[in-house]
């Protein structure tokens, strides 16, 4: 296994060292190390219950780790003031229960609430974020009346708006944590959303996201880490991690991996035992 923890860059936006979290006697994640640079997209893959969400929630300060360090722009993340942290670290959680009748636009605008940049700038940013996710037409619709996928894209637009500009972040480092952002989307919007996140990362944002669809992770990630039972099994580029032996081991199921005919990126197929065509 090509488990690595020594390739930590000097100027990482996020550095996680020896992170362990347990609830009661159950260890949820054990001794995780990772580092993400500005502009980099890191995808976390693994089977259900592997600790993907736990890892994201711990980095997002929703859970307290048993041991280990999380530093953001070379500072301990726990020491940052909540408001200052919110200006440079945005989190999209898996569940976003909102039953009050805000409009799409108002939900996105809530992403600007940690900032005091003024109405004009905030309006521009909200418009740009909504355009990036193809939800401009939902601006005046009521959030509870939207479909699950539309709600998801509105929520992502809100999170992007929160860390939209580098000049609003006091350390000029920005981090985006996305927990299963594409799960409820159709294939067209999955790719559009991943593309939007990819382009957003290019503006200098570090992105850590959990993804269920391994092929999607392979197509858009710079690096992938694979978790199983709370342990980091592998870390590396999509081509390094997405191998048949490794993915079969992580997910406990035989898989075939082929090359995408156009992009050459790995495509993961579930192999059936009887050999019938998929």
């Amino acid at each position: 296994m090509n488990k690595t923890s020594q390739n930590t860059p000097d100027k990482g936006v996020l550095t996680v060292e020896n992170l362990s979290v347990s609830i009661g006697s159950r260890t949820l994640i054990n001794n995780i190390n990772l580092a993400v640079d500005a502009g980099e997209v890191l995808c976390v893959i693994g089977p259900n219950g592997a600790g993907k969400t736990t890892l994201l929630r711990t980095i997002g300060q929703d859970l307290t780790p048993d041991s280990g360090h999380i530093s953001f722009a070379q500072q301990p993340l726990t020491r940052m003031a909540p408001r200052a942290r919110a200006r440079q670290l945005a989190v999209l959680t898996q569940h976003n229960p909102l039953t009050f009748a805000f409009t799409g636009r108002e939900v996105v605008a809530l992403g600007r609430s940690p900032h005091s940049t003024g109405v004009v700038i905030d309006d521009d940013i909200c418009q740009a974020a909504m355009a990036a996710l193809d939800v401009s037409h939902l601006a005046q619709r009521l959030y509870p009346s939207l479909s699950g996928g539309e709600q998801q894209r509105i929520q992502l637009a809100r999170v992007l708006a929160q860390v939209w500009r580098a000049e609003d972040a006091s350390t000029s480092a920005r981090l985006l944590l996305l927990d299963e952002p594409v799960t409820s989307l159709d294939i067209g919007h999955q790719h559009q959303l991943m593309q939007a996140v990819r382009e957003f990362a290019r503006t200098g944002v570090a992105v850590v996201m959990t993804v269920h669809d391994i092929t999607l992770a392979g197509a858009f990630a710079d690096r992938i880490i694979a978790l199983k039972n709370g342990e980091c099994i592998a870390e590396g580029s999509p081509h390094e991690v997405l191998t048949e032996s490794l993915i079969s081991h992580v997910f406990d199921t035989p898989v075939s991996i082929i090359k995408h005919p156009q992009t050459g990126k790995p495509v993961v197929l579930g192999a059936t035992e009887t050999g019938t065509t998929v």
């Binding site: 959680t93 039953t99 009050f100 805000f102």
Partner: protein, 340 residues
């Protein structure tokens, strides 16, 4: 279809302010003796008036209108705060047992303390007792019924029933142990309602209302983000624990003082914020102040109605708001069920 049809904020401000002024005027003009517009204006501006008009306005109707307006506004703001805290538009101080908890606190204060004190300090002690009881009730209901996904309506309402039942038995216990003199004071307070209004009561209620009005500005933004969810609000830089603690204390204070001054008045905190939300949307920057205006108007109108409908006798105002509010609540429950 689902495009928003909202009222322009300026229009809503204008309408509700107008409604409040009108309700205030109506509350002073109507009663078992009706006064003319001219008489009311003359009495309010301190000019001499024939007959008992001036006395009626100054010693009876004006303090009562001030108390009704303050209590109505306090209850509406408390309702809006609770709904934000529970992330649930069905939360209301009376439905989730805060009012009942405050009543127990007030009874305890009356039985064990207020006897030896003068009028004003007695009243303050009763308010403090109601505040303590209300605080315990909100805290308990919140602890049990809230989870990371917001609060379940069912658990919240069931907790309200449980807390109210507990409160009723504690009140009964208090009656059981009270001697004649205490019983007399307890029943006097319970009958209190708005007809016990005087400038002291109105003043204490107005002071608490002022605190709530001043608190609104600082809370509206944080409450808006809290509607997204607790961890979402935390990720937006809100100190959620501090916000919740402050909201619980303010709601307990508001409901406590309104119970101590005017008895239990149900549904104002449910109906008013709901109507305002339908009108201008859930943004607390508008919702809170407009609910205050609406709540003050509603209680003034309900009280005027209670006074004139079977004049010269009067109905308790809590009865009027419950008759208005209960069908409203039932239709809300029904429409929520249809949505799911």
């Amino acid at each position: 279809m689902s495009l928003v049809k909202r009222t322009a904020p300026r229009f809503a401000w204008f309408t509700l302010s107008g409604l409040l002024a009108l309700s205030f005027f109506v509350a002073i003009a109507f009663g078992s003796v009706d006064l003319s517009i001219v008489d009311v204006v003359r009495a309010l501006t301190g000019q001499p008036l024939e007959g008992y008009g001036a006395a009626i306005v100054h010693s009876i109707r004006l303090p009562r209108a001030l108390l009704a307006a303050s209590v109505g506004a306090i209850l509406a703001i408390s309702g809006a705060y609770l709904q934000g805290l529970f992330r649930n538009p069905l939360a209301d101080p009376s439905l989730i047992g805060v009012t009942a908890g405050a009543s127990v606190g007030a009874s305890v204060a009356i039985v064990f303390g207020a006897g030896g004190l003068g009028f004003v300090s007695g009243l303050s002690l009763v308010s403090l007792g109601a505040f303590g009881g209300g605080l315990l009730a909100v805290w308990l209901v919140y602890k049990v019924s809230s989870s990371i996904n917001g609060t379940s309506v069912a658990t919240m309402l069931l907790m309200g029933i449980a807390v109210s039942a507990l409160a009723a038995s504690l009140t009964g216990l208090m009656d059981y142990f009270a001697d004649n003199e205490m019983l007399r004071r307890l029943s006097l307070w319970r009958m209190g309602g708005l007809d016990g209004a005087n400038y002291w009561r109105a003043g204490i209620a107005a002071a608490v209302l002022l605190v709530m009005l001043l608190s609104m500005g600082g809370f509206s933004h944080a409450l808006n983000t809290l509607l997204l969810g607790e961890s979402q609000a935390r990720h937006l830089g809100v100190d959620v624990e501090r916000l919740k603690t402050r909201l619980i204390i303010l709601v307990a204070g508001g409901v406590g003082v309104s119970v101590a001054m005017a008895g239990s008045i149900a549904f104002v905190g449910l109906v008013v914020p709901h109507m305002v939300r339908l009108w201008v949307g859930p943004d607390h920057r508008l919702l809170l102040p407009l609910s205050a205006l609406g709540g003050a108007s509603l209680l003034l109108l309900a009280d005027t109605f209670a006074r004139v409908v079977i004049a010269p006798t009067e109905l308790p105002v809590g009865l009027v708001t419950a008759i208005l509010g209960a069908p409203f609540f039932i239709s809300l429950l029904k429409s929520r069920r249809d949505l799911q």
